[in-house]
Amino acid sequence: MEAFWIILVGSLIAVSCALLGSYLILRKMAMVGDAISHAVLPGIVIAYLLSGSRETLPMLVGAAALGVLTTVLIELFHKKSNLQMDASIGITFTWLFAIGIILISLFAGQVDLDQDCVLYGEIAYVPLDLWITESGYNMGPRTVWIASGLLLLLLLFIWRGYKGLFITTFNEEFAKALGIGVAFWHYALMGAVSLTTVISFESVGAILVVALLIVPPATAYLITTDLKKMLLLSSIFGILSAIGGYYLASLINGSIAGAIASVAGFLFLCVWVLELLRKKRVISI
């Protein structure tokens, strides 16, 4: 049963990340997830200082606020001052992350908080945190419900917003010329990425979120010619990584998150080599 819950949560998070990551890659903003996952640190520390507890909710709120601030700052530096997107991402998150570190060291005496506990949620603990109702009924792990809710929300967003996301991702200027609110779509997507990043790394850890946002969509991008297929394929690669990663981890008795990220990377490599061979064959024919 434990294996089932861990694989289920891993897969739910993997699909959420794969869907959003596909859009991020096509918008050339793949590193935004990385940026958010670091930049939320000061938000978490401030939330901790203000609430004085390690309750999840205040921390999530603090993290989400900083996540949104991160995307606003990135966009501001990029659009208002013509700074390249990658430079803008780099400046924003290193700076915010540094503030988080300083806050932690300043309050180290009073704060029982370190980067490990805020940045590296552990997927292996998923089955331990059960949701027991008032009447004592066991609903299963809490994370399963949170991750399912998140995925449902994202599916609704992408299903309803497909055209809006499609046109603003492919050709923002043309969308603007049609009178479409491109800022709305940008921030809707960034808000979704912030939410996903924060929720996911609370349950599976930061490194894994960043890997799942980028690697499965990049793998799908190699072999697809159609956005809908890219969304589907990257979800499948994400799920395969979660399943493969779990069994790899139990085989070598290692970190599950690390194993999932490794399997995702390994899948990318396989697809990349196969594609290379296929192209060679096409040319030599």
Binding site: L26, K28, N82, R160, G161, K163, G164, F166, I167, T169, F170, N171, E173, F174, A175, K176, A177, L178, G179, I180, G181, Y221, T224, T225, D226, L227, K229, M230
Partner: protein, 256 residues
Amino acid sequence: MISIETHNLTVSYNRRPVLWNIDFELPTGKIIGIIGPNGSGKTTLLKAIMGLVPTSSGYVKIFNQDLEDVRSRVSYVPQRESVDWDFPASVMDIVLMGRYKKNNLFKRITKADRDIAAEALEKVNMLEFSNRQISQLSGGQQQRVFIARSLAQGADLYIMDEPFVGVDAATEEAILNLLHDMKNQGKTVVVVHHDLQTAKDFFDWIVLLNTRMVAAGPKEEIFNKKLLQEAYGGKLNVLSQVGDLMKEKAFNVREK
């Protein structure tokens, strides 16, 4: 009738003006060229007309109204290099974007939309490529897809940025024919173009641009050495082209 009117239009990037005091009124039902050397502000002018860049002063009117009130009658074809052609989308997906509107963004694409898109592809001779991924198109085919997307909008005014750049002779001919068809249907087409050689064949009307507006009017009035020199400045090879142009005084006007 006036298609586009600009008054005292000034646009700056980082406080450096790249368009200065542009004042013109363009007619309707004509093929109009916006001509000027590289960096003379042609793309910026189109973007200012479409409300895509902030203006420092002046205003733009389209069909005597604000852009917001006539948006559905105006179609914009951006420079081909402004998008990523490796995007996972088919030719049809792109052309269908011409049917997207602010108020149907959350609705599904209809059969009527598909029919209109197919018709537009037919007009640019690209119907057989409907399902092809856009990364597998030549430059000329990409340009045709962009024009088809614009046609699918069913507008009255078309504003195109450098549609003749990097296209083969067949595509150039096809696009020209299309522009004339559109003109015959009473549409107005404004085209950014940097090649002086072909400009006199392509357009009825010309706006000469070099940060400032050098001149605007019917091409017979614009193609004189003084104005062209003013627009193209001391660029030697261009000046010799101007000389050639002056020699072939006869403008073979396309009559239909």
